[in-house]
């Protein structure tokens, strides 16, 4: 059997397409298991909880996360649309596993998705769309919208699926607690640096007063990912919003 496979390997491969494996010691997450498959998915994409518990998950620094992103875009020729779709779908899947509709009070369960001004916000738009397909009732607050086709298209997809966009952020945490059973924080991602500008500073203050659960996409917004101690918005267990590539 192995001789047969060796024969196939020698004779039949298109030699020109074999790209040398990139030797990048700086991207630490590539050491050990290949980075695209650190978590085992069994059939149907369900989590194998025993495997998860025994698999050591590596947490990336901001530089490492940005380096992974760059490699995906530049070397692997993934597009932002592609990765954003997979990210948003994975997040919706994770949220639905953590907070299945049957465990929520309302039918359909109501979810507020707060989208920031960058790619994390885009992930949130995709996530909201898939949550709708999964039987939730999402509402989006998207105060700062980049004027790029990617984002305008994602907004159109949500609008056409009758996902409402709020005109303003509820000022009181209690209002959100009454209307929504879950909040998705898709405000800032791993590229975030520096001070939080309005309106997001006020938004984060409101979120800190919530009693309903918050699911943060990639990182709890406003938390420096190099630092510890981020108050109300985290930390969340590592499987709360995995990116599946």
């Amino acid at each position: 059997m192995s001789r047969l496979r060796a024969l196939l390997g020698l004779g039949l491969l298109v030699a020109g397409s074999r790209v040398p494996r990139i030797k990048s010691q700086t991207i630490a997450c590539r050491s050990g298991p290949t980075w695209w498959g650190p978590q085992r998915l069994n059939s149907g994409g369900r989590w194998d909880s025993e495997v998860m518990a025994s698999t050591v998950v590596k947490y990336l620094s901001q530089e490492e996360a940005q380096a992974v992103d760059q490699e995906l875009f530049n070397e692997y020729q993934f597009s932002v649309d592609q990765l954003m779709e997979l990210a948003g779908l994975s997040c919706a899947t994770a949220i639905a596993k953590a907070y299945p509709p049957t465990s929520m009070s309302r039918s359909p369960p109501t979810v507020l998705v707060i989208c920031g001004p960058g790619n994390n916000g885009g992930d949130g738009l995709v996530c909201a769309r898939h949550l709708k397909l999964f039987g939730y009732e999402p509402t989006i607050y998207y105060p700062k919208r980049p004027n790029k086709p990617l984002f305008t298209a994602l907004v159109t997809q949500c609008q056409k699926m009758d996902i409402p966009f709020l005109g303003e952020m509820p000022a009181e945490p209690m209002t959100i607690d009454e209307l929504y059973e879950l909040v998705v924080d898709a405000i800032f991602g791993f590229s975030f640096k520096g001070d939080v500008r309005e309106p997001f500073h006020s938004i984060l203050s409101v979120l800190k007063g919530l009693t309903v659960p918050i699911a943060s996409i990639d990182i709890p917004s406003g938390a420096g990912i190099q630092k510890v101690g981020w108050g109300r918005l985290g930390p969340y267990p590592p499987d709360s919003c995995p990116h599946q590539v």
């Binding site: 047969l4 397409s17 790209v19 069994n42 699926m161």
Partner: protein, 247 residues
Amino acid sequence: MSSAAGPDPSEAPEERHFLSTAEAAALERELLEDYRFGRQQLVELCGHASAVAVTKAFPLPALSRKQRTVLVVCGPEQNGAVGLVCARHLRVFEYEPTIFYPTRSLDLLHRDLTTQCEKMDIPFLSYLPTELINEAYGLVVDAVLGPGVEPGEVGGPCTRALATLKLLSIPLVSLDIPSGWDAETGSDSEDGLRPDVLVSLAAPKRCAGRFSGRHHFVAGRFVPDDVRRKFALRLPGYTGTDCVAAL
């Protein structure tokens, strides 16, 4: 509401299980034009869901090492692009895909999808090992022809590949429609295949009524409810977060 083609409103709104080729094209057009989905988005969702369907039909824990090897045969059109995405996700799911993609599309989508597979060390065969195929692989994914693509359009190598796929003794999974079937009538053309598994993308096509293999799945959970209703389409219930449903 948009003016995209749809069923005659004067007809009884009885829900159907299949789409005609024209309706499938109209549904796709609505998603692309009215809903502003990108083609790459939809191809990614279909390819990912197709891979999930393969894992449901052939769960990894039950497979030997050889059985995990999957040959994905890709044509030059959209069906082939879905096949390239499917192969990549199968790799992530720890199967061992190999791709045969003899007639390559020049469009950017196909080129980028090819790069992604190459970078993930998925081998591309330079020719199809006709005599060895049943020994070398555990199953084959047919992503050669989609609905509305004439066999004559895709060139000699694909046509010859389909002739090989007719003689398989290992399982065959066809994406969207069995390549070579008439998408409307399902009548066997010369190159008609008999797949064990049919993975209908978004919604079954009319020819799926003639499918008599082991499993029929719908894969690709992205059709908004309004669109589904507009086409009077009855889709199987997806459970939970599944992107694949068995029919």
